[in-house]
Symmetry: C2
Subunit: 592 residues, 2 copies
């Protein structure tokens, strides 16, 4: 059975040594001093480790069941839900006027990592409520906000996002679900939605569905899609629950993982709904919360890697097999712990150096979201929008790979259900697919974010990196291990951007055929940048005589590993990109 220790210390390092949150000019940040964030993180960590994590294997084994339209979640989920709700965790970063706690999104991201590590299937129920509530808060009428949002933040009601239909996922312009206007201002919603996470379950009194649908006689394609709020029970004016709406769960998907989360077929049979925001502007409303939604999935990627890694380390310290080639480390035992072997360390360090870099990147993303939302900083908004597809795509791909590495570190045990690591692999797999597949992320990056405003955001990114390198000049301890490799990797990224600019403008296929590699190349440079910053912060802490020198030294050593063993991947991605589209597009569809 796997265990989980919330990495509070590492999060505190990011909040205070790296991002120095309590010195920040972002409104609300000055309250985030060390002792306050420690208290919040410790408390969230307790729930994650003691309440959610023990239910993770229960959820995997039991899954959800559908009987007579009722979906039952695994044993213990309801109790855990109520504990989360009562603790105020559901609306941690939400508007206090709508029942939220008003904390920075960064803090929500920090505790969200714990919850995701401990029980990804469970956390998805909670995460989707946040997304739906935020969307309603941003686009709903005052009445809609008052009717739905506070109950969601209290955890009494939940929320869902209904986009996919059997014939369309990525290409939402093909949506067929109909919304017919009624005389009372409501709409009758009819159609089938699939893969609706938490579409039906027994954790809450009411479920607030946000549904994309088409109003008859509107524009064709994506420009004729509107957003509707369609509650399971129609709320009465006094807030009590009224009539059952004409919608139902028609089936549960059997999946590779996240069995504890109900993935529903939702049938809308003339259900009553109300327009959210403007008519035909449904996609825009849905996309407002895209950055948060995608960052929360990016988080899942490295959060699963974190718990998998922790358990791989325990195994590697305890499993006795073979001898250290430089001399026995456990001479009185039958063999040495396998962590003495270089290849086991290579495996563990590939994980560790990714996870800690990923955490820094995700936190930076959350900080920029706060900066954009709380300060109206447009540059931060542009930068985080550029980086979001990188975070979602790169962190979930690499997070999955890290889970596979952790599984490998256990040898045969890794394949058994008993050891529990294989569940992390199965659960982590979905993060590469949902909320826009990683291929779609790469298209969003190369086709939309990169060229936006003449490439302004990526220019700012390069400026940040260059600025950091310039500021650090003369820091010899940082130079060879961090600054030089970062400079080289950043150059690869620039070269890829130039290739797109020059070749892609002649033939867009040259850019599109390299989009996935560009996403990974950008991911590596981003993590390299984070590592260089973390190394400098650690050196500063050591110079100031930090108490826990070993923590900072380990951080620097882990960073060196990333810079020398992961970052050189930028060269491979650049080579793939600059090989162009010819070998990609050469075959006819029938020749595959």
């Amino acid at each position: 059975m796997p265990a989980y220790t919330p990495p509070v210390k590492d999060q505190q390092f990011l909040l205070h040594d790296l991002f120095k949150v309590s010195e920040s000019d972002i409104p609300g940040y000055k309250d985030l001093d060390r002792s306050f964030t420690a208290a919040v993180l410790e408390e969230a960590g307790k729930i994650a480790a003691n309440v959610l994590q023990p239910l993770n294997v229960v959820g995997d084994m039991q899954g959800c069941s559908l009987e007579n339209g009722v979906v039952r979640t695994p044993d213990g989920f309801k109790t855990a839900w109520d504990e989360m709700a009562n603790g105020g965790w559901m609306g941690l970063a939400a508007d206090p006027e709508l029942g939220g706690q008003g904390m920075p999104y960064l803090l929500n991201t920090a505790v969200g990592e714990f919850f995701s590590s401990a029980n990804m299937a469970f956390q998805m129920y909670a995460g989707l409520v946040q997304g739906a509530a935020l969307t309603l808060a941003a686009h709903g009428s005052d009445e809609q906000k008052a009717t739905y949002v506070p109950s969601m933040h209290e955890g009494r009601w939940s929320g869902t996002m209904n986009l996919t239909e059997p014939h369309c996922g990525t290409d939402l312009g093909l949506i067929r679900t109909k919304a017919e206007p009624q005389d009372d201002g409501s709409y009758r919603i009819s159609g089938q939605k699939i893969w609706i996470s938490g579409g039906e379950h027994d954790l809450v009194e009411n479920i607030v569905h946000l549904v994309l649908a088409r109003i008859p006689d509107g524009p064709e394609g994506i420009k004729g899609i509107s957003l509707f709020v369609v509650p399971k029970f129609l709320p009465n004016e006094d807030g009590s629950l009224g009539e059952r709406n004409r919608l139902s769960c028609g089936g549960l998907e059997e999946k590779m993982g996240i069995h504890g989360n109900a993935t529903c077929v939702m049938n809308y049979d003339g259900a009553t709904g109300w327009l959210v925001g403007e008519m035909h502007k449904g996609m825009r409303a849905m996309f407002t919360m895209m950055n948060e939604a995608r960052l929360s999935v990016a988080l899942q990627g490295y959060a699963q890697a974190e718990i998998a890694y922790q358990n791989a380390v325990v195994f590697a310290r305890e499993r006795l097999q073979g001898r250290d080639v430089t001399g026995a480390k456990n001479p009185d035992g039958p063999a040495d712990p396998v962590i003495v072997h270089p290849d086991v360390r290579r495996n563990l360090l590939d994980q560790k150096s990714f996870i800690e870099g990923a955490r820094a990147l995700a936190f930076w993303g959350a900080e920029m979201i706060d900066r954009a939302r709380r300060k109206g900083d447009e540059e931060a908004e542009a930068m985080v929008s550029l980086l979001i597809p990188v975070m979602k795509g790169f962190l979930t791909d690499k997070g999955f790979e890290a889970c596979v590495l952790a599984q490998q570190a256990l040898g045969g045990s890794g394949f058994t259900r008993e050891a529990g690591i294989e569940q992390f692999v199965r659960d982590a797999r979905i993060a590469m697919i949902y909320e826009g597949t990683n291929g779609i992320q790469s298209l969003d990056l190369v086709g939309r974010k990169l060229p936006a405003k003449g490439g302004k955001a990526i220019m700012s990114f390069f400026e940040l990196v260059k600025g950091f390198i310039r500021e650090s000049e003369g820091n010899e301890a940082l130079k060879a291990g961090f600054l030089d490799p970062l400079k080289a990797a950043s150059k690869d990224l620039q070269a890829a951007g130039m290739y797109f600019l020059q070749e892609g403008s002649k033939n867009p296929l040259h850019a599109l055929a390299g989009s996935y590699d560009f996403m990974h190349l950008f991911g590596h440079v981003s993590l390299g940048f984070m590592w260089a910053r973390m190394a400098r912060a650690s050196m500063e802490a050591l110079e100031l005589g930090a108490e826990d020198a070993e923590y900072y030294e380990t951080k620097i050593m882990t960073g060196r590993y990333y810079m020398s063993r992961q970052l050189p991947a930028t060269g491979l991605h650049l080579a793939r990109i600059t090989s162009g589209a010819d070998s990609v597009m050469g075959l006819g569809a029938e020749s595959f």
Copy 2:
């Protein structure tokens, strides 16, 4: 539900265009003309597609069950087993004097790919019989051979390999299972073995266990291990089944995949067994068949990728989503098939170019095994021994990755059990672990195979590559796309070898910390070499006016993709290797 089409044409290309088997000087090869191999492959392909593949999902869903010591395999497995046995497939490459068909191992490898693609869990039962029978044929007494082997080749009896114990897998020197000599020349075997594939099941009348155990008062460690044959039922002199032996299945492992294969805890409670080969030389006997055993796992890696790929292609041709950026390809439909999109092609070509290169490498390995066994060619033996860990490690790692790519190509469907691709991912995962984890393969490569006889085998490999490049000089069509990248990649491999020679001799950790990357680097160069050879063979076929020009053109184009988009990975692996051991060994075990 997935489907499967045996890639007969691609195998015929390898056998006849590339390896030109019927012109070979290997005894038995001259009978392998095109029509003969076509007949065998077609017949095997029918069984794979029509009998085994439909049972693949049944096996996954039902798994095996243990009741009162009896293991039941999934519905249909017994009927399929009998069909395989009656067709003579069980002993296809085995000695005719022991009831085998006497075919080359290469042909066995070809059909083994089909069976593995169609139903990996099922094929494992059959594959292990072959391994056990070969071991007995090589090391058993004449009486043991006569008693056991023909019944195994007939498929009436099966066989297992019993190595692992709860406290030891890789480090078999720690084995505790005891074998006490009896007055009648037999031994009493006592101990527990775990992860025994096919340890107990209902497909056959008798199960012949090969068990590693320790004779009291022998040398400690690995040098005191002997091999025993321990049948489930003791055979009478007339070949009929006698007394039930004192051994039993104590439990079935719950696993991530290959649910149709029974992974057993085997308890030996004073069971009767007989020594196979020499006392205390059990490891040597077990290792005789190592090349075949590991090649058969390498096969599983790309075989799962093959069926996953086939189904991803079907999806990509049928799923309509989005439009071709260069203009609609399906203007009358609501959208274009997703195979028009560059990133979908990138995904599919990463799979296709790997699978076809892997198949060539595996076939080359099988051909060298035939050359060694049938001609006593020691150079072939040395070369295949060098390449076996590369094949096992690289082809199963990349085969798994390819399955993950195939799953990704299906978007959300890829995560559902209904589409069936996720099973290939779960099944393929084990191939990276069993028969020596891939980390162990890399140690075998760098610690044992590479330095053997002063590096003679890898020198021969470089000579082969150089010779091929030299022979192809002046072939301008081959130069830029194939020869130049092959030369560059081969140079990276040589540089890595030199690094190990220079730095590893000073400090073995520098070699060990790079072993895994060396295995992958070597794998890429091997596949690059195969692709260059396949491209040249295809060009030759085209020059000779081959009928199916499109097949050969597709082959060349797929090769170009590999050379330009996969082979550059050698640079990354070299960079990782030459970064040395410092960042790998720097952390204390407690700092992970």
